[in-house]
């Protein structure tokens, strides 16, 4: 608690707001003692004078010093604001906790009344109450207090609702603690902090509102004066004597801001603070000799791909592979292994502050590392299709499905609105969406999850894709729908020899769809092997552990499911040696000391493990 208040004072905004607020409060105490005599001294000899050595902000229509009057008015202005805020907070607390005290039915009426009152702006409520309570300081106090009460009632309700659901309140209730005691002892202490913050901000707004009412002549009445009154009196003479209107105006703004800023700084100190993230430039990788030359039928060739974020963290550390025409390649690994970032980096969808570098990144023979011209944009837009994990959030909720598909054709193929929509309907039909014409006019939320994912694939088919990058396309779907989506991908691949890069944490899914599998761990490929014979060929202990963790028909159901011991590697603290070593049963001194390179055998099967030759045969 103390450290959090301390953190408020450590930020530059917090310090200046606190200093400003302290100055305002100090002035409220001292100013009347220092300047009272001067402020009330009527000098008919110098009426409405401008700035002079004696009166450096001039004098008003009775020859009184304006600077002194503004200073003296600090006390009344601040006191009135604080009292009005207290009235508002208290009334808000009473209204806001009323549902707890009165029970559900009466509580609902109070809540409904608060909801209606909240819809009206504070000034309007203040005017309404000012009519009832009458013109004058007391009336204005009550008016403003009651005007801010609904807002506080709403806030209290929200906070109470949050706290009332917590265990200790339920426990207190079960223990037979009375309602009043429950509120005072258990609930109020837990909502005090946000209430304080909002009350501080409200005090600033109240100060401004009070100035408004006094300015209108509805607040403080002469001979008493606050800033609003001084401002109202000074406005009439703004042509001859602007200082009389401007000085109290400035005072109101400064004092109001002091409260506001301090409240904001408190809120920020209490809530989490966003750390400044330094932005780094895109770094061109140093040219390094390329080890492998991709064949002429390569759709995608990646070499030495790295993705890093300021921190610095490098979640993808030198990934390389190729995907050939019509081939299905899977990437598997635990969450955090860098699979998704690899996919996004290939598709050039990593945004600042993320940084991508690669020794080679070619799609259909075009270098993706350089340039971002319209030609490249069209190539990627029509030939590279993306399917994302969550079809619920991956469509724009405010646009009709058909239009979201059609815009691809409009932008990249120059089709008109109508032909583009016709193509969209055709593509929806191609991914087996029934009543495609009607569905195209619907919004995403009217589609089921599986249909959305098929529509997403259909969107990729608006062009003539050579590669579909599918990032966990079935994870968010239920099992029967998963099958449909996978079968659809397979059919597209077979019909048009479209290559597929399937990213999944589910090794069973990958095995079903893909020809080849890349196993990723801690941002690197640790093994590349054919999908069909994984059980026999897997040599990396991590791959074998993944395979062992998949239950099949022969799994003994009485034994607990196999799990990989230990935790996934922390990308911010990677060891010098093999990242899997801490979890590996075969790890020895060499593994801890040196990171094993990814080595290919004659068949193209690659593995990065010092002990790859130790593990042959079926996994346990």
């Amino acid at each position: 608690m103390r450290s959090r208040w301390g953190s408020v004072l450590r930020t530059p905004v917090g310090v200046s707001a606190a200093a400003l607020l302290a100055a305002v409060l100090l002035l409220a105490v001292l100013a009347p003692l220092v300047w009272s005599a001067e402020a009330d001294a009527i000098d008919t000899g110098s009426i409405l004078r401008g700035s002079s050595a004696e009166h450096w902000m001039g004098t008003d229509n009775l020859g009184r010093d304006i600077f002194a009057r503004v200073m003296v008015a600090t006390r009344l202005s601040v006191v009135l604001a604080l009292v009005a805020t207290s009235i508002g907070v208290l009334a808000g607390l009473v209204l806001g906790t009323a549902p707890l005290v009165l029970g559900a039915r009466a509580g609902r009426i109070v809540t409904a009344a608060v909801n209606i009152a909240v819809a009206f702006p504070g000034l309007l409520l203040a005017l309404f109450f000012a009519v009832i309570f009458g013109v004058g300081a007391t009336g204005a106090l009550l008016a403003i207090g009651f005007a801010i009460a609904p807002g506080f009632a709403r806030l209290t309700q929200t906070l109470v609702a949050r706290v009332a659901g917590l265990d200790f309140v339920a426990a207190a209730r079960l223990a037979g603690v009375g309602r009043a005691r429950l509120i005072v002892r258990h609930i109020l202490p837990n909502i005090g902090e946000p209430l304080m913050v909002n009350a501080t901000i409200a005090a600033g707004n109240t100060l401004l509102a009070f100035a408004g009412l006094s300015f209108l002549g509805l607040g403080v009445q002469p001979p008493a004066y606050d800033w609003g009154r001084l401002l109202g009196d000074g406005l009439g003479g703004i042509y001859i004597h602007p200082a009389a209107a401007l000085a109290p105006g400035v005072a109101v703004v400064v004092a109001g801001l002091a409260f506001n800023l301090f409240g904001e700084a408190m809120a920020k100190g209490i809530g989490r603070q966003t750390a400044a993230v330094p932005v780094r430039r895109w770094r061109r990788p140093a040219a390094t000799p390329v080890q492998r030359v991709p064949g002429p039928d390569a759709v995608l060739a990646v070499e030495g791909l790295r993705v890093s974020f300021p921190g610095p963290v490098t979640p993808v550390r030198g990934v390389g592979f190729t995907v050939r025409r019509g081939e299905a390649v899977g990437i598997v690994g635990e969450s955090g292994s860098g699979k998704t970032l690899t996919a996004l980096a290939i598709a050039r969808l990593i945004e600042e502050p993320g940084e991508v570098s690669a020794d080679r990144l070619e799609f259909l023979g075009k270098d993706l590392r350089t340039g971002s011209g319209p030609a490249l944009r069209r190539l990627l837009g029509t030939s590279l299709a993306m399917v994302f994990q969550d079809p619920t959030t991956s469509f724009n909720p405010t646009r009709r499905m058909g239009r979201q598909l059609a815009e691809v054709a409009e932008v990249h193929q120059g089709l008109g609105r109508r032909p583009a929509l016709a193509r969209a309907v055709d593509r929806l039909r191609a991914v087996r969406i029934p009543a495609a014409e009607r569905r195209a006019r619907q919004f995403p939320h009217e589609f089921s999850g599986g249909m959305r994912q098929r529509a997403m694939i259909g969107m990729g088919l608006m062009g003539t894709p050579a590669l579909i990058v599918a990032d966990e396309p079935t994870t968010a779907l239920d099992v029967t729908v998963q099958k449909q989506v996978l079968r659809l991908l397979e059919r597209i691949r077979a019909d048009d020899s479209v290559a597929i890069l399937l990213i999944s944490h589910d090794i069973a899914v990958v095995r079903e769809v893909c020809d080849r599998v890349l196993v990723m761990y801690a941002g690197r490929i640790v093994e590349e092997l054919p999908a069909a014979d994984m059980h026999r060929l897997a040599r990396h202990p991590y791959t074998r552990a993944l395979l062992a963790a998949v239950p099949d028909m022969t799994t003994d159901r009485d034994r607990p499911l196999a799990a990989i011991p230990g935790r996934p590697a922390d990308p911010t603290r990677l060891p010098v040696g093999c990242a899997f070593a801490p979890r590996c049963p075969l790890a020895d001194e060499q593994c801890v000391r040196e990171d094993p390179p990814l080595v290919a055998d004659v068949l193209g099967h690659r593995v990065a493990c010092w002990h790859a030759d130790l593990v042959v045969g079926e996994p346990r």
Binding site: A113, I116, A119, P121, L123, L124, L127, F128, A130, V131, I132, G134, G204, L208, A211, G212, F215, L216, G217, L231, L235, I238, Y239, P242, A245, L246, G249, V252, V253, G256, N260, L261, E264, A276, V277, V279, A347, L349, E351, E352, P353, R377, R378, L380, G381, M386, F388, T393, S394, N396, P397, T398, R399, E407, V408, V411, F443, H445, M456, M459
Partner: protein, 331 residues
């Protein structure tokens, strides 16, 4: 041929299932309740005034016979429920009573003053939106992902400052700079077209700053959304990604919060009108409160309250049009 009843049934079913219809009915119900509360509050306002409002309005020196006659004329001697019934009946027939000071029908006073206030409010609203949306969107695009920290700091601090300064102080400052010091605009009144500039700007500055902040924050969070990634994966040009995919989604959240600001703008006209001696409802209500001209006060409170309710309704309908999902959501 299908029988007409068989053809009717699905139509009726669809009619009942229509989310728009249900949304409309629910929203209408809420509006009616709010209007009723407003009417009742305005009625009770007069009766909650401590002491005798007629005595207060006429002054202590007024003869008791005059007070009694005025009370009788205003129907204040009837039982409360009867007064309420009369009040509602009069409202529906358009009879808002007579000003106790000028003797003019209140409906006429409102009719004379309302257009000036509506001009001001609409102008202020239009200007605020015209500034806030492009500014907020632009700043979000420029400062996304922690880019341009300095620009972000400058924008947030200046918008906090501008949003915190109340409109009547902005008005005073504008008058000083543009009317007194530079002499570019008239200091007060509603005459030439250029007399509109300062009041509208004074009214718009605060809401524009606050709204721009909201637009920026909302746009930033929308830019993180999956569907923006989808739009980028479709390789749409940036302007389409921002204008077509980010903006409508940022606006739905913006309008919800911005609606409160806009109804605040309706109330803000009261203060701005008093600075510029604008012949609208805002100056009328203040003069009437000071003069204890309760029939006028009551009517102006009603008009302002209805204005706020209309703004809120417009906000909800716009939201529903922009984001079809909000028609299903329970409010």
């Amino acid at each position: 041929m299908a029988s007409p009843t068989a053809a009717m049934a699905p139509t009726l079913e669809r009619f009942a299932d229509n989310v728009w219809l249900r949304f409309g009915l629910r929203r209408l119900g809420r509006l009616l309740v709010s209007v009723w509360v407003l009417l009742t509050a305005a009625f009770l306002m007069i009766h909650l005034i401590p002491g005798d409002p007629v005595r207060a309005a006429l002054g202590i020196a007024a003869p008791p016979e005059l007070v009694a006659a005025r009370r009788e004329a205003l129907g204040l001697n009837d039982p409360l429920w009867l007064q309420y019934v009369h009040y509602l009946r009069d409202l529906f027939t358009g009879d808002l009573g007579v000003s106790t000071i000028t003797g003019l029908p209140v409906a006429q006073v409102i009719g004379d003053r309302l257009p000036a206030t509506v001009e001001l409010a609409l102008g202020g609203f239009g200007l605020a939106v015209a500034i806030a949306v492009p500014l907020g969107l632009g700043m979000a695009v420029l400062t996304r992902g922690g880019r341009r920290r300095q620009a972000e700091l400058a924008f947030t601090s200046s918008s906090v400052l501008l949003a915190a300064v109340p409109e009547f102080l902005v008005a005073v400052g504008l008058v000083y700079v543009f009317s007194v010091a530079l002499g570019w605009a008239p200091v007060a009144g509603r005459s030439s077209p250029d007399s509109y500039i300062l009041p509208i700007v004074a009214l718009a500055v605060g809401p524009a700053a606050a709204l721009a902040r909201i637009v920026r924050v909302e746009t930033l969070s929308v830019l993180q959304a999956d569907f923006i990634r989808t739009a980028r994966a479709k390789r749409l040009p940036d302007r389409l990604v921002y204008a077509r995919h980010a903006l409508p989604n940022a606006l739905t959240a913006t309008i919800t919060i911005g609606g409160l600001l806009l109804s605040g703008l309706v109330a803000g006209t009261v203060l701005v009108e008093n600075v510029f001696a604008w012949p609208g409802l805002g100056s009328t209500i203040v003069q009437s409160i000071l003069a204890k001209d309760y029939p006028v006060v009551q009517a102006v409170v009603l008009v302002y309250g209805l204005g706020v309710l209309v703004v809120n309704l417009a906000v909800d309908v716009t939201l529903a049009l922009l984001d079809p999902r909000s028609t299903i959501r329970e409010s």
